[in-house]
């Protein structure tokens, strides 16, 4: 198994926000979606995912509601709040700038 590349600090929040931008998901689905979208390169551990989700609830970026999952089970669905969308936009911009800068360095230096 290829080792999971380490996430840049703070990017976990960004990934979750982005994943939820398309609509509410439960925790397991979030992890799964991130893994699939990254071609299995990014695997989010449960030990990081749930503390992060709770942190974002505290921050007011997400809300959580109990609903029914695809396989008819009771699951907790997370969705973005208005503050969460704002945060996503802000962090995306910052992230783009950071990546650009890193790429610039990698190319020229």
């Amino acid at each position: 198994m290829q080792p999971t590349p380490e996430l840049l600090p703070g990017t976990l929040y960004l990934l979750i926000l982005r994943t939820l931008a398309r609509g509410p998901l439960h925790g397991y689905a979030i992890a799964k979606r991130i893994k699939e979208s990254s071609d299995a390169a990014l695997e989010i551990e449960e030990g990081s995912l749930y503390p992060a989700l709770n942190r974002m609830l505290v921050k007011g970026w997400l809300t959580a509601e109990w609903g029914i999952s695809d396989n008819n089970r009771k699951a907790r669905f997370y969705s973005l709040t208005l503050a969460g969308r704002k945060q996503l936009a802000e962090e995306t911009q910052q992230f783009d700038r950071l990546i650009q800068a890193i790429q610039l360095v990698m190319r020229t230096a």
């Binding site: 439960h26 449960e46 503390p51 505290v58 009771k74």
Partner: protein, 875 residues
């Protein structure tokens, strides 16, 4: 803000949160099991605890909760070893309590801002002098200097004042009491920045020769005797039998270090009292000026003042300004700082001891700590937890310390009240508590930081692999504790040396040959600062009549009056030797005596004669001198028959007597010493000089008697009453009491330092004992093997004892070096013994090594009872 709100809502919906989280995780694990198979799900299971904890942590007030959890944990740990906790808390409580008590004294005397408006603008003019590399300060100026400062130092607003003399008789409103009178110049209260509550302060017209008799009263006196009646201003009160008009009442909060009840005008002059340095000079910086400017101005004035003074060789003199706060604490700051350093050192030693105990505990807890770190408690978390344990100890020790300090400060205040002149209230106020908290916190860091760092540095694998005490104990891990023990031995040896030097000084001073026979002598004192005793004739009539009555008492062998008793101080005055130029002068201590003085005290007359009743105002002026005077001014010659000049009078030396111990008053003089003395016959003192003397000094009646002292005192009081009903003796003393009083500050310093040093010794011994006891415990299996292999019990005992003695020896040598420095710093307080006295150093080192050997042997002795078979079986 909303984040805080959500967190608070969480606090109330905690159970709901827990069930939500639980259900959510269960759902997650089921999904994982379904989609990825049971292995993957089980892998996830490992982090369930982290998921729950991590999620919960997000909602809590992290820092606070962690602190509470650590405190709870620390409390449990401490409760499990109550012995350790008790020793640590008791050590801290003692150390912090002593520091709190001493600091509240230091604060009251040296640090707390003075109770006047803008106290930082207040200062005092002093004279520095340096002689043979020794520096000193004279806190008084003479009349000439005062006039120069008044007229030329335009950066300063100044006023002169005198110290308080004896208590004087005050009568008003039908009440009579003894009060403290201080004489101050016009402007004194203005300079301090305090307006009278009623009335006014002295004017320039009142504060000059021949001015009216006016007085300002303290609030306390006004309230207690005059019932706080404002109309008393402009009315008269009786002071020393004279009428004084009250011109002002000071406000209740006004107080100076003199604690005066009545102020009268000083009337400074350049003659009489003002010819010598007898005035204090308080100044306030004028607006716009700075202290360095004022200081250089005063220095320049000083240069002019001393330009024509003839100074002893190798002496330089210059004037300057110091803050009024420092001025008030001049005499006491060194002893107080020494005391402060001593208690701080005891606390430091206590902290080192606790650190050493913590290290020992940590080595016993290695497995616990390693296990917790292996289970994922981060190093930082464990470190924080260990430090919290220390904080808990420090907080409990600190709280107990404040309690002890509160009790201790009252006792200490009582002990030092007369010696350190506690004129500002001593209290455990916010300043003291702040200081105590700072001390507690730094103590905690001092003893907790290193052990916590040391414990969390442990390699998890090594610690877990090493199953208990099975291996030969690692020598390396013992070094930190050894260094701590050396450090505390060093500090306590230095403290012991300091205390030893003070003790040797005190013993030396106590055992000095007095030069007279102090047994069977009773003395009585009264103040003659009285309107009815202005002339020498009046004074001598009182002396003659009262002595005559006293001599009639049964058992009285001799009776005399003298201005100063042995062990007290006389007047410092200038005189001229034959052959001196007009600018030359010498200083000596002098006082008047009646003829029987030498017989009453059994002072040996070495040559010539003593005074007789015939040495009166009309006859030739004569004096007597002591051996010390003869040695200094007439070396290799007999002074009897020589002449000296005092003022304008030619004085013939008619007798030479042995030395008598007096209080040393010259800078650099011992507290008790044989000083050069000139005795003047009471009948020949000039009137003005007699008056001036009685402002500062009260004469004492000296009676040698074979009768019991109590009966003699009653008889003396009766005799005095029959001659002078208005002036009862105010104090009866035996000469040992006079000596005790003069040596009071030395006794106190020695006692306090002795107590501190004993505490330090005790703590260091506990430290050594603990170290050896711990190493014996730790090495029991190893020693068992050694003994099974043929080592004798003696060899095993030596093996564990020697390190203790070696550490003590190292600490002793370091401590001697530190003590050498301390001795040099304290050299102004050490008499009759060198600050590097070999006997003291060797004695302290020897005592310490002996005690250290005992403290090491005691726990090691258990080894002799060790049964190798049992020890090995328990492996």
């Amino acid at each position: 803000m909303s984040e805080l709100f959500r967190k608070i809502r969480y606090l109330f919906g905690r159970r709901r949160f827990e069930t939500d989280l639980d259900q959510e995780l269960r759902f997650h694990l089921e999904m994982a099991a379904e989609e990825q198979g049971p292995t993957a799900a089980r892998r996830s299971f490992g982090s369930v605890e982290r998921m729950i904890e991590g999620s919960r942590d997000m909602w809590t007030f992290q820092l606070l909760e962690n602190l509470l959890r650590d405190l709870r944990y620390g409390w449990r740990v401490l409760r499990k070893s109550p012995g350790f906790a008790a020793v640590a808390i008791a050590t801290l409580a003692l150390g912090i309590g002593a520091n709190t008590a001493v600091f509240s004294i230091v604060d009251a005397v040296l640090l707390r801002p003075l109770p006047y408006p803008q106290p930082e603008q207040l200062g005092a003019v002093i004279t520095h002098f340096a002689q043979h590399g020794d520096q000193g300060i004279n806190d008084s100026v003479d009349g000439k200097t005062w006039e120069l400062i008044r007229d030329h130092a335009d950066h300063l607003d100044g006023a002169v004042f005198s110290g308080a003399g004896a208590k004087v008789n005050f009568a008003a409103n039908g009440q009579v009491r003894y009060v403290v009178q201080q004489r101050v110049a016009a402007g004194y209260f203005r300079v301090l920045g305090v307006q009278p509550l009623y009335g006014r302060e002295f004017t320039k017209d009142e504060d000059c020769e021949g001015g009216p008799a006016v007085a300002v009263l303290s609030y306390g006196l006004w309230k207690n005797v005059l019932h706080a009646d404002p109309s008393v201003v402009e009315h008269t009160v009786m002071l020393r039998g004279e009428k004084f008009t009250v011109v002002g009442i000071m406000p209740p909060e006004f107080v100076t270090d003199t604690l005066a009840d009545v102020w009268t005008p000083l009337r400074p002059s350049t003659g009489g009292e003002g010819a010598g340095a007898n005035y204090g000079l308080v100044v306030r910086l004028r607006p716009g000026a700075t202290w360095p400017e004022a200081d250089s101005q005063v220095r320049a004035i000083g240069a002019i003042r001393f330009k024509d003074e003839k100074l002893p060789p190798d002496t330089s003199v210059w004037m300057g300004v110091i803050s009024l706060q420092r001025y008030f604490g001049l005499d006491v700051s060194t002893p107080l700082y020494i005391l402060w350093i001593a208690v701080a050192m005891v606390l430091l030693i206590g902290c080192v001891n606790i650190a050493s105990l913590l290290l020992a505990r940590a080595s016993g807890r290695t497995r616990e700590i390693a296990t917790r770190m292996a289970l994922g408690g981060g190093r930082a978390v464990v470190f924080r937890q260990l430090l919290t344990e220390s904080l808990l100890l420090a907080a409990m020790g600190g709280a107990a310390g404040v309690g002890l300090g509160y009790l201790g400060v009252r006792g200490l205040e009582f002990l030092v009240r007369d010696i350190f002149n506690l004129w500002q209230p001593v209290q455990l106020d916010a300043r003291v508590l702040l200081m105590t908290s700072a001390v507690t916190l730094s103590a905690c860091l001092l003893f907790g930081l290193y052990p916590a760092w040391h414990a969390t540095r442990a390699q998890i694998r090594d610690a877990l692999a090493e199953s208990g005490g099975r291996s030969v104990s690692g020598g390396r891990s013992r070094w930190p504790r050894r260094i701590l023990v050396v450090a505390e031995v060093t500090l306590s040896v230095a403290l012991l040396i300091g205390a030893g030097l003070l003790l040797r000084t005190f013993t030396y001073l106590r055992n000095l040959r007095p030069g007279f026979d102090p047994n069977h002598v009773v003395t009585a004192t009264l103040s003659l600062e009285d309107a009815r005793y202005q002339t020498t004739a009046q004074v001598n009539r009182l002396f003659d009549q009262s002595l005559e009555r006293i001599r009639e008492l049964p058992g009285v062998e001799a009776a005399a009056v003298a201005l100063a008793l042995p062990y007290e101080r006389g007047i410092n005055d200038a005189f001229h030797l034959p052959g001196d130029g007009p600018q030359d002068y010498h200083m000596t201590v002098e006082f008047y005596v009646t003829p029987d003085y030498f017989r009453a005290l059994h002072i040996p007359v070495l040559d010539g004669r003593t005074f007789t009743a015939a040495d009166g105002p009309q006859s030739r002026k004569v004096v007597m001198v002591n051996e010390e005077f003869a040695k200094k001014y007439f070396p290799q010659r007999n002074p009897v028959g020589m002449h000296i000049k005092g003022g304008k009078d030619d004085l013939e030396i008619v007798g030479l007597v042995g030395d008598v111990l007096m209080e040393g008053i010259h800078a650099g003089a011992a507290p008790l010493a044989a000083v050069p003395l000139v005795f003047i016959p009471a009948g020949q003192v000039p009137d003005e000089y007699m008056q001036m003397m009685h402002v500062w000094f009260s004469p004492s009646w000296i009676v040698r008697t074979s009768a019991p002292p109590q009966a003699v005192m009653r008889g003396m009081q009766k005799a005095m009453q029959s001659v002078e009903p208005l002036l009862p003796f105010s104090e009866f003393r035996e000469l040992d009491e006079v000596k005790s009083k003069t040596l009071g500050s030395e006794r106190l310093e020695t006692t306090l330092m002795g107590v501190m040093a004993a505490l330090a010794l005790l703590l260091a011994v506990i430290g050594i004992y603990g170290l050896i006891a711990h190493s014996v415990n730790e090495r029991t299996p190893e020693l068992g093997i050694r003994m099974a292999m043929g080592a004798t019990a003696e060899q095993a005992v030596m093996l564990v004892t020697l390190p203790g003695v070696a550490l003590a020896a190292t600490g002793c040598s370091l401590g001697c070096m530190l003590g050498w420095g301390a001795g040099r710093w304290m050299r102004h307080l050490i008499w009759g013994v060198s600050p590097t006295d070999a006997a003291t150093f060797a004695g302290v080192a020897g005592l310490f090594l002996l005690v250290a050997a005992a403290a090491s042997l005691l726990p090691a002795w258990r080894i002799t009872r060790l049964n190798p078979a049992t020890t090995l079986r328990s492996e």
